[in-house]
Amino acid sequence: MPEKSAHKTFDVAVIGGGMIGPALSLGLLARGLRVCILDEGDDVLRVARGNFGLVWFQGKGFGMPRYVEWSRRSATLYPEFAAELKEHTGVDVGHANPGGLELLLGEQELAHRQHYIGQIYQQGGGKDYEVEFIDRKQVEDMLPGVTLGDDVIGASYSPIDGHVNPLFLLRAMHTRFQQAGGTYLPHHRVSGVNKNGSAYDVITEAGPVSAAKVVIAAGHGLKQLGPPLGLDIPIRPQRGHILVTERTKQILPMPISAFRQTVEGSIMLGVSAEEAGYDDRVDTATVAGIAERAGRTFPALRNLNIVRSWAALRVLTPDKCPVYAESQSHPGIYAVASHSGVTLAAVNARVAANWIAGDPAPDEFEAFGVERFDAQKTSQ
């Protein structure tokens, strides 16, 4: 049964128990604030349980150099963040930063990737932009013991890329949150937020919760919660599929964008992108397409059994860059939305949380507001 939470009062109420809410909450707790996470049940869209697990840098931030910096910052903070989670919770989130590859099949993909990465570089992401192109031979040297498919002609490589076990990450953040004195309130679906003097009453299915500040980190829930609070952010669901193979001996020493091998030996295969509304069911043709490309890339993968597949719905903004915004009409109410909750977990906990706590916004946030969407609407 939902815990009765009438007359509960906090400094910050964080709506959403996925990747973003708990990460921010850890940083808020570290500032000595009283924080609650308002979550729903298991019957809602759980994007944070469908992640692939990349901590990714290369290719992020097309059209937005600030996002390039922000992603790099998170990758840089990750080792210490993961170590602290392990120290306090005993949960090893399996973070590793061995660099990452995006393999390119055929001249057309290479040309497209070179153009794309080149544009990010020219847009200003080029400051220390650690992404380089390597040929097939160099790929083979990086992946000893792996037989590449005939179509693989090269890759883009970044030493900043890495990966993590996203489910352990989620568990570790939740464990640490409660350990550090945070109040986790499941079955507190939020229907709205009302101003009450200098604070806000968050209206939930289990009664109101009072807080001086409110953070909407509710994934797709932002679509309903945001507009009445001056945070009309045009996010949309974009479906992605993931396949998991049976466990094998370690063969992939680094994540390869659409492929990564877990610490336990499974190989995860991704990643698709479909416009399917809120339908998160698995599409067989899409799964077959992912498996086919995996076989073209690493022919030996054709011998492996697929043991699971699933689909999840990314929280996508029109420019694929994150939103960190405080409401103009409702000061003290914030919206944070991104489809990169795993990559950004460290920087959310270590940096973004301080902004919500009252520190000046990080430089990057000049680009992450909601105004940019108004401009995009006007220009269309």
Binding site: E246, T248, K249, I251, G265, A300, L301, N303
Partner: protein, 99 residues
């Protein structure tokens, strides 16, 4: 130890870890290996814990073995056949070849 009950079924020649073994027509690979050596038939990929066939009906995946060169096959769901080569697995399978 496990013993094979009296069977009139024909003898089938198989090999287990390279050793020639007589099995009986109609029995599963899991049954044949248990009759040959009633002990662990694999170790797990992560912790290396010993495992043996358990449910014998295709559900628990504890009986995984390499059969005719293909690893991670469910030994309880496959019948022995003449000339079949069976290997018990130690830890995770290899992805390529016999690495």
């Amino acid at each position: 130890m496990l013993k094979r009950r009296h069977s009139d079924a024909a003898v089938v020649q198989i090999s287990i870890d390279g050793e020639a073994v007589e099995a009986r027509d109609g029995e599963s690979v899991a049954a044949a290996v248990l009759a040959y050596a009633g002990e662990a038939t694999r170790t797990t990929p992560v912790s290396g814990a010993p495992r043996a066939p358990y449910c014998l009906m295709g559900v628990c995946f504890e009986c995984l073995m390499e059969i005719d060169g293909v690893p991670n096959r469910q030994a309880c769901m496959i019948r022995v056949s003449d000339g079949m080569s069976i290997r018990r697995q130690q830890g995770a399978r290899a992805l390529e070849g016999d690495a």
